[in-house]
């Protein structure tokens, strides 16, 4: 996607506004300072070339991934995946729960049921706010359910998020800072062609309205 285009600018701003809402809510819930930034957005077309999704995963990724997935069907069809490196999530969860972070607690990489519940909630808030606000700003009605949370490695992940029906991918890079701990993640939204076009159409409408 042309990074200097107006479309890119509008898309990024729309997502950042919605991320701001998520940060606000998370901050109230956890009582901590939260910053959510979306520094970059890109659109990939799987029909045009073979895309290595792992090129778009968080740069420091080297191990397991924690993925929250939401499917939506109304008005826009697709799947949104919020992806964070699993090892950093442990620290994150402890910060969100206001627990002291001890090294002893991170002895194993296994996540407990409570951890999954916490991720389910955080993932839900982030995805909800981003999808929700975006659909509001673009005037598109979206219907979706609670996210599923799973832990994957590189191989199982690529298999899991490959959707034959959704050939267009919207990739958002997201930086999540809680207190002073920073974690980089990715949101990968698989979209049906129609949905992508609908999204772009709405953006063009906004462009026409604003850039008279």
């Amino acid at each position: 996607m042309n990074k200097s285009s107006i479309r890119y600018d509008i898309l990024k701003e729309v997502f950042n506004i919605s991320a701001g809402k998520a940060a606000n809510l998370l901050s109230e819930i956890t009582g901590k300072k939260i910053i959510l930034k979306i520094p970059d957005v890109t659109i990939l077309d799987r029909t045009k070339s073979n895309i290595e999704l792992t090129d778009y995963l968080p740069i420091k990724f080297s191990g397991a991934l924690m993925v929250s997935t939401i499917s939506f069907k109304e008005n826009l069809a697709g799947k949104a995946n919020l992806i964070f490196p699993a090892e950093k999530m442990k620290t994150f969860i402890q910060l969100c729960l206001n627990e002291e972070v001890y090294d002893e607690d991170n002895l194993s990489l296994d996540f407990t049921d409570i951890d999954f519940d916490v991720i389910r909630e955080i993932g839900n808030i982030i995805l909800n706010c981003i999808l929700g606000e975006t659909s509001n700003l673009l005037d598109i009605k979206l219907q979706y359910s609670l996210p599923e949370v799973k832990v994957y490695n590189q191989i199982t992940f690529t298999k899991a998020i490959y959707e034959k029906e959704y050939q267009h991918i919207l990739v958002l890079f997201i930086t999540f800072i809680i207190d002073n701990t920073e974690i980089e993640g990715t949101i990968i939204v698989d979209l049906a062609l129609q949905s992508l076009n609908e999204l772009l159409r709405k953006i063009d409408l906004i462009e026409a309205d604003t850039y008279v």
Binding site: E28, E121, N128, S135, L146
Partner: protein, 308 residues
Amino acid sequence: MYNCCCEVLNSVNEGIIIVKENLEVYSWNSYMEYITNIKGSSAIGNNLYTVLPSLNKNYFKKTVHNILNDGYTMFFSAAMHRDLMDTEENYNIKISKIQDKNNTFMLLEFHNVTGQMAQIKQLKKYIKELYNVNKELKKKEKVIENLAYYDQLTGIANRTLFYILAEKYLQNAKRNGSLLGIMFIDIDKFKSINDTYGHQIGDKIIIKAANILKEATRESDIVVRYGGDEFIVILPNIKDISDCKIVASKINNRTGNIVYMKDKEIKLSFSMGISIYPNDGDNIDKLIGKADKAMYIAKRNDEDVHYY
């Protein structure tokens, strides 16, 4: 059909509240009665926040607003929201919007996770205990290791460790074609000091001696308590005998070589014998033997240090 639905709601193992768009409680199932000790008859018709004041939090109200307006589904995990329910037990809360042609409702589901949370807490406790036990064990291992290789009185290497290290440095010297110095040292007149002043003073002197030797030697030199009042210094990386001589003069020419007692001062002096690889031998025993002999000569000649 309505009655059947109520029956279903009442046999489900979750707390279920249905509220109208204006947040007036519409339905309150049996499990909810059990969770809160509030009867359906008291709850129904009243405002949600009046019935459950613990829900009256800013972020909760904001979320409810979003759910009703935008159709989000919200999930509050028990772990992050202990403050939402005024109960001993812990509940995950799921909230969603239900809409039909004419009416909008909100569905609140309360799922009991107290058991899971207790289990996890217990598990974490065990892991922490195991971790601490492990830490203690490692500490003890270190102590045992120390006992085997280090002199308990002075803290420096003991005879056992000496042989290990000396062999290693000798091999290095052989490989590199460099020199290795062995200095055999004992404390002058130690036996008589010990007999005169007693073992406690004797020990103090040994400790002071070890410190003197440590300070006088270079970083790379190794000071060992060989036994009783005997010490050995291993000097790797020497260019020639003069390096050893320098160390020797440092040892005996220190003005601080005095042990103070209540009414007496004991001045410490050492006798030293030096041997060098390869000149004086090509194995440790030979080198020690030569250094020992040299020290004996030094004592006999009333010198500080002797070498071949």
